[in-house]
Amino acid sequence: MVDPVIASRLQFALTTIVHIIFPVVSMGLAPFLLYFTWKDIRTGEPVYEQLRRFWTRIFAVSFVVGTVTGIVLEFEFGTNFAAFATTAGPLFGGPLAVEGMMAFMLEATFLGVFVFGRERVGDALYMISAVAVGLGTWLSAVWILIANSWMQMPRGYELVTRNGEQVIHLVDPIAAYATPRFFWMFVHMQNASVESVSLAMAGLSAYFVFKHHVWERPVDHVTFWETTLKIAVVGLLITAPLQVFHGDLYARHVYETQPQKFAAMEAVWETDSYVPEYLIAFPTSIESLLDPRAKEIFGIGIPGGASWLASGGDPQATIRGLEEFEGPQPPVAVVFWSFRIMVALGFWFVTLAFWSGYRWYRGELFADDLLHKALMASSPLGVLAVELGWVVTEVGRQPWIIQGVMKTSEGVSPGLTGAEATATLVGFAAAYLGLLTLYGYVITRLIRAGPPDRADLVTTAPTESEVAADD
């Protein structure tokens, strides 16, 4: 029997880690779908119709899985974190309710039109539905991140005793909901989604382009895959450098507002100035195996690097060490390594973007087999970087569920038993494993089937629905 607090935390972590994949796919695909739809309507070129239809299917399947896993998350605040829900509800519940009414409704209703309605509605309404779906996915992120950023940077509230319990009352909505943290989180998350989808598209299309141009094997829909690759490279060229740029500004904001998290990201234990940016660090002893001690022992670091990054240019800047903060620390190793790998991936994506861009400029985008292999191998890494980013954000703020206000352990439902929590944790682990397998299987099948041929469309009209039948 797992302790209900630990089981609840594991379960929430598991459900978020699995759920986030699908919003990333939806948010990242949204601008591409908008572009494909617009080009399809404007030019009528077959390749854009194929692009629209193919990626719409991927979107639709991802949306279904995203919906079922998202409802779970909303309910878990009530089932597993009832104390948090009671305390923070007057301030925290609002954004969730508005997310449902403003964003999810928009996305879910117009998705019906977008997926099934090409033959049923006119061009204008069809385009509107594409915009509505895209807007819905992005607005969802706005409201969820407003709620989350408040937990990271609580403002605009007061603690009041009501019905015998301490509750958080909203007093200044602008301060509470429009935190600077929200801005950085949103920019970083949206850009990461588009970047991740660009990478996945690039890797996938590189496979077919590689097979056709380098291996000279027969490949269906060569133009389709070549166009996909080019569009993905454009997406990557825009998003990859931006991600590093605002990632840096975001980290600086964390240094100012959540120094404990920043110290964990850098594994700085003692307050110091001229702190190096360690690329690798090792624990001091076997007992502290899980605590990288950046300072005391062997490590590879750039002198003054961490101070320079934290302050935005001053290598002498002081970083407050973990030992200055009372009470339990976040698991430093998890935060330290997640942050490092995420940043390394970010730089790797910039390399890929420029490499692809250069080859394209030289007219060799379809000929560089090493590039194709690199893209193929990097296909899932964008999503991995997003996951690691969330690990830094959420694990890094532990032990707080609301930074400096409420501990995660205090937020768990008081009546929850270990047996109940363990039962659902095991159930979720099994169900989500099955769900991911199923999702992978379906996506693979869709990719194997490839884009629909235009010739099919003409002979068996009205086939929008028929082709959607294979969704």
């Binding site: 009530g78 519940g93 099934f116």
Partner: protein, 333 residues
């Protein structure tokens, strides 16, 4: 910050916002139960069809709609959380395993149609067809169980009234599903469904009577409310709506039958709300006034809901008019 001071000093326009939110909450729940209810009903009726083409038509009928319909549940959860946080927390954590049963059933129901269409071999479709039926029966049953436990302040997972309400809700979703499918189908299939509609309606009426009698016998605290003109009126309205449904079905007035089905769902949810009020959670004794969020949050949410919910109805009108009328023979999911 004068505007914030105005918003936190008193309710907007002096409206009784806590009571309005109590009403709105049940309105949202009823909307969910009506809209997703026909999806559940279609799922339950799926088991009665052996023919592959007919099954395809059932799936095609709900294809564009069910996602949007299900969002009403998310909005219900969000609204409960935002308006009555202690109720949301207490209710959901108290019914811990039941909530996850609902989620599991919904997951099955949501995935099944999508998966059913992924492959066209018999084994695959047989299993996903079964999942679809199971999810579509289990979700309304668990929701009914949850609602009964909520209303009666029960902390036990399974209770006799809970099971009765669960079955009642299942029967109601089938009534609803028949009304929807008769809008979306043609010919023999449409004619066949008529009998299913009568059977489901009869089952619903029997179960409603049994449930009300059971609650009357087992929950003395609710007896006075049950004899109130409002509740008696709603029960009377249910009988009128049931007659209208049967008559409209018989005369092939499809839209009228669909509207009557909606009326039945709203009447049932209204009975639950009437029996609860002025409490929102009998188990903890929290009343609407004690559980509602403070004025500033409430006013902001009310402004949000007043702006957004009409917009949501526009989306639904667009969606339902884009896919109005029976599905064409070639159309499938």
């Amino acid at each position: 910050m004068t505007s914030v001071e105005t918003l936190s000093s008193g309710p907007l326009f002096g409206l009784p916002l806590p009571d309005l939110w109590f009403g709105l909450l049940f309105f949202i729940f009823a909307t969910f139960l009506f809209l997703d209810g026909f999806d559940f009903g279609v799922g339950a009726l799926f088991v009665t069809r052996e023919d592959a083409a007919e099954r395809e038509q059932f799936l095609a009928a709900i294809g564009p709609f069910w996602d949007g319909n299900e969002v009403w549940l998310v909005v219900f959860g969000g609204a409960l959380f935002a308006a009555f946080p202690p109720v949301y927390a207490n209710l959901f954590s108290r019914h811990y395993l039941l909530m996850f049963a609902i989620l599991g059933a919904l997951l099955l129901r949501g995935l099944a149609p999508e998966m059913y269409e992924q492959r066209h071999d018999e084994r695959w479709q047989r299993w996903w067809g079964r999942s679809f039926v199971a999810g579509s029966l289990a979700t309304p049953f668990f929701l009914g169980l949850f609602t009964a436990n909520w209303l009666l302040g029960s902390t036990a997972l399974v209770t006799l009234p809970g099971v009765l309400v669960g079955l009642t809700v299942v029967a109601l979703t089938v009534v609803d599903g028949v009304a929807f499918l008769r809008l979306k189908t043609r010919g023999d299939l449409r004619a066949d469904l008529q009998a299913d509609g009568y059977r489901a309606l009869a089952a619903y009426l029997v179960l409603v009577v049994a449930t009300l009698a059971g609650i009357y016998a087992l929950a003395p605290s609710l007896r006075a409310t049950m004899r109130s003109p409002l509740v008696l009126g709603l029960v009377g309205l249910t009988l009128v709506l049931a007659a209208a449904y049967a008559l409209a079905t018989r005369r092939n007035r499809y839209y009228l039958a669909f509207v009557a089905a909606a009326g039945l769902v709203f009447a049932l949810v209204a009975v639950v709300a009437a029996l609860l009020y002025p409490s929102v959670d009998p188990a903890t004794g929290l009343t609407v006034e004690a559980a509602i969020v403070p004025t500033l949050s409430l006013n902001l949410m009310s402004i949000g809901a007043a702006l957004l919910l009409p917009l949501v109805f526009v989306y639904f009108v667009v969606l339902y008019s884009a896919f109005s009328g029976p599905i064409e023979a070639e159309e499938s999911y």
